[in-house]
């Protein structure tokens, strides 16, 4: 799972990530509508050819290229190209084998046997074997490793190597997300056995995936090159460059200049700035609901935000429809809880509270925030109600959203200071819990298990419950939800969780934005599906006469 994603993210959404802007990666169910605009693809009769480079723009720089530590979408995008997991989602969101050729699950659901693909090579020529999986597993559960993903793997009771290509994994109790969890990207044991802290590996990763790492210029770009030995076949596009430009309007200018091929548009750019002839001729743009949401996270260790009435009051005081209209220009949906409307865990009975400043004032008065000072802000015991809302730099939507919130909260007497931070610095402050409130987004995994975000045991450093939410009933349901398999039964549990978290308001849930990727028209073979557009990235290609980079 990861918390933010930069404007474009190519890769498979097995895990949660922190997102900057939009996630393209993340799968969404078949009910959603996919909109294609501009040029129709006409490629049936043509033969795919090799060559060319795709330059993708990102507002965030990767934090690390170690797959088990990568929790932000900028990092996930890159590692997703360099590494493979044992399983992955196909275009229809079915789990299929990746490094595992097939698997067998025992009738009681407690045992999974993976049969690994033979003949897969690491990019340095060594063979991939079950020992690499064992190594990755050991690193994941090692308390020394500060990874947010350890939870799923601590459930494993026994990990047995049967031979070089067979693994038997036993769970103590039924664990529903077990199979999905093995989408975790596998790291090479032979290179990392003697490396203590991955520091070198992070700047020079070696994987089994379709692209090989070439170069990482800090603050500039990450360059990858096609892996000619890739077991699924060599990718058509020779090079993948992720260019870090920490500002959406500069990204857009670079796109217009055609020096970028692939970015995520802002709603304003999508609706108003790309309707020209130039864009229609040179680009294709897409629109689909993302599998993630934007929210305000309250630091529940802060005595003020620990008070439920205050969080409820703020929820009433913010007009979310206004935000969707003003910030997303209608390209998004209301968010009522930790699941998106396209997920089967979504509880449609939970209604978003409607904007009601009067109710907000009453709730605040209940907990003693009644008197106002000369500036019109609430005071209690001589202290003004004031807090800092942090968000990341370069994301116009979040800045605007923060300004609307600031304006609405001012009307009920709360002073909001907006602080916009560079991505890495922002994540650091979250890790150290030195915040009052953050405006942030989650990119969700397909499985609704949100144990890592909301379970009270996941509040440690680098873990995802950074708001320190604790509700025993939710804890219990989260534990139960991962123990049973039938979707219908799980559905009931997760819908209950949806309701409880909606009532508790550890986050103020704001909206589910649409993903709005735009791609240079010369790329062919893009097959939009319910799993986004990037699932077949290695099959994208450019006709020889249209190739721009040699």
């Amino acid at each position: 799972m990861s918390i933010f994603s930069p404007p474009k993210s190519l890769f498979r959404g097995i895990f949660l990530i922190l997102i900057f802007i939009f996630i393209f990666t993340f799968p969404f169910p078949s009910t959603s509508t996919f909109t294609f605009l501009y040029a129709q693809q006409n490629q049936k009769d043509e033969i795919a050819c090799y060559g060319d480079t795709i330059v993708a723009g990102s507002i965030g720089e990767p934090i690390t290229l170690v797959p088990i530590l990568a929790a932000d979408s900028a990092s996930q995008n890159i590692v997703g190209l360099i590494f493979n997991g044992l399983v992955k989602y196909d275009k229809d969101i079915n789990l299929i084998g990746d490094l595992a050729e097939r698997w067998k699950i025992s009738d009681d659901g407690l045992e999974i046997t993976f049969y690994l693909r033979k003949g897969v090579k690491w990019q340095d020529g060594a063979s991939f074997t079950a020992r690499d999986v064992l190594f990755t597993y050991e690193k994941l559960i090692d308390p020394q490793t500060k990874t947010p993903y350890s939870g799923d793997f601590k459930k494993v009771k026994d990990f047995k190597l049967i031979d070089d290509y067979t693994i038997k994994i036993t769970y103590e109790e039924p664990f529903a997300p077990a199979l999905v969890s093995w989408g975790m990207l596998i790291m090479p044991a032979h290179l990392l056995k003697n490396e203590e802290d991955f520091r070198k590996f992070s700047r020079r990763p070696v994987g089994t995936g379709p692209y090989k790492f070439v170069q990482w210029e800090t603050g500039g770009r990450v360059v990858l090159e096609a892996n000619p030995e890739y077991w699924e076949g060599r990718p058509y596009i020779d090079r993948y460059i992720s260019s870090v430009i920490p500002d959406q309007s500069t990204l857009f200018l670079e796109l217009r200049n055609r020096s970028l091929d692939y970015i995520g548009l802002t709603p304003l750019q999508y609706q108003r700035q790309t309707e020209t002839k130039f864009f229609k001729q040179n680009f294709r743009k897409y629109k689909y609901p993302s599998f993630g949401y934007t929210y305000i996270g309250w630091n529940l260790r802060n005595p003020r935000f620990k008070t439920k009435e205050i969080r409820e009051a703020i929820n009433y005081a913010i007009d979310k429809e206004e935000i969707i209209k003003g910030v997303l220009l209608g390209l998004g949906k209301l968010c009522t809880g930790p699941f998106v409307p396209n997920s089967w865990a979504y509880n449609s009975d939970v209604e978003a509270v409607s904007y009601n400043p009067q109710k907000a004032r009453e709730l605040l008065a209940e907990v003693g925030w009644e008197k106002k000072n000369k500036q019109g802000f609430l005071v209690k015991n001589g202290k003004q109600f004031e807090f800092t809302l942090l968000t990341n730099q370069g994301n116009e939507q979040r800045r605007k959203c923060a300004e609307i919130i600031q304006q609405r909260l001012k009307q009920v007497g709360i002073k909001v200071n907006i602080k916009i931070l560079e991505w890495g610095c922002f994540l650091d402050i979250i890790d150290k819990r030195q915040f009052e409130a953050v405006l942030l987004g989650w990119g969700l995994s397909r499985d609704p298990d949100c144990y890592d975000i909301f379970h009270s045991s996941k509040t440690g450093p680098k873990e995802f419950n950074f708001v320190s939410y604790k509700n025993e009933q939710v804890d219990e349901l989260l534990e139960k939800g991962r123990k049973i398999f039938p979707v219908e039964k799980r559905k009931a549990i997760y819908q209950k969780i949806h309701r409880l978290i909606h009532n508790d308001q550890p986050y103020t849930f704001l909206y589910v934005p649409d993903a709005l990727p735009i791609i240079d028209v010369r790329f062919q073979g893009i097959e939009p599906s319910i799993n986004g557009i990037s699932h077949n990235f290695i099959k994208w290609w450019v006709a020889e006469e249209r190739q721009r980079y040699k």
Binding site: T266, R272, Q273, E322, G326, R399, E403, K410, I418
Partner: protein, 269 residues
């Protein structure tokens, strides 16, 4: 000719001051009023300069922005003038080691590219309007200090100063009553020109998102928002740009005018 310069400078600045003082009366809307139904409307009857990407009225924001700009000009220059006068007169009047020490400090301060110095200080302090003004003042006093020192050096050798000192007047009184008033005119010109500079600096900082923070409007942060929609919202770039241009022009005209007058006075007198 120079009177025309002074006059036009004065008129521009007077208009701005009036705008700033009567901002609440002049602006048709609250500068912070968000209206999502009217995002990025081009100049029209209801919004004579159009609206920004949150539907806020640009004209009202510009009028309130005048307050920020004028304040920044005054306070920042006030700060740099105070420091510059203090250090400059100390150095010039005491001479010797004190002079050496102060002027080397000035040299050190001048070594830093001032904008980077500014950025560093902004990063450490909270970005309130007052801090921004203070920081701009703290990073721009060196020129004034040099100017004051040079003036003091020449004036302290004049007969009336020697006379005053032979009459047993304290050093403080000599500097405050006899030297500084005579050193002021060129410093004033520098100060007026400095206001234009300070306003530009504030706009640049706000343009980078490090200056005046939302929701307070300033010409610089309006420009910053305008840059991302320059192809569909030209008014967000043109009008604040013009406002900055005209204001800085006003101060420069005034400053140049005063300088020209002084030159003629020197020449004829």
């Amino acid at each position: 000719m120079k009177n025309k310069l002074i006059l036009s400078g004065c008129v521009i600045i007077a208009v701005l001051i009036l705008l700033a003082i009567f901002a609440p009366l002049i602006s048709p809307y609250s500068p912070e009023k968000i209206d999502v139904e009217n995002i990025l409307s081009s100049p029209n009857r209801a919004h004579i300069l159009g609206t920004d990407s949150l539907g806020r009225d640009l004209f009202s924001r510009m009028v309130y922005g005048t307050r920020v700009s004028l304040q920044v000009g005054l306070v920042a220059v006030g700060v740099s003038l105070t420091i510059g006068l203090l250090f400059g007169s100390l150095a010039g009047y005491c001479g010797g080691r004190v002079d050496n020490l102060i002027m080397r400090f000035v040299d050190i301060m001048l070594c830093f590219p001032s904008f980077f110095l500014l950025l560093t200080m902004v990063a450490f302090l909270k970005a309130t309007i007052f801090n921004i003004m203070l920081i701009i003042g703290l990073t721009s006093w060196m020129g004034i200090a040099r100017l004051v020192r040079a003036e003091v050096l020449s004036i302290k050798e004049k007969d009336f100063v020697r006379y005053a000192s032979s009459m047993g007047l304290s050093n403080f009184k000599i500097v405050a009553k006899h030297i500084l008033p005579n050193a002021l005119p060129p410093v004033l010109v520098a100060a007026v020109l400095g206001m234009g500079g300070a306003i530009l600096t504030e706009s640049a900082l706000s343009f980078l998102g490090l200056g005046v923070q939302p929701p307070t409007p300033s010409w610089g942060n309006i420009l910053m928002e305008g840059k991302s929609v320059i192809d569909i919202g030209w008014w967000l770039t043109l009008f604040p740009g013009l406002a900055i241009l005209i204001t800085v022009l006003g101060y420069n005209l005034l400053g140049e005018g005063i300088r020209a007058t002084r030159c003629t006075l020197h020449a004829t007198g």
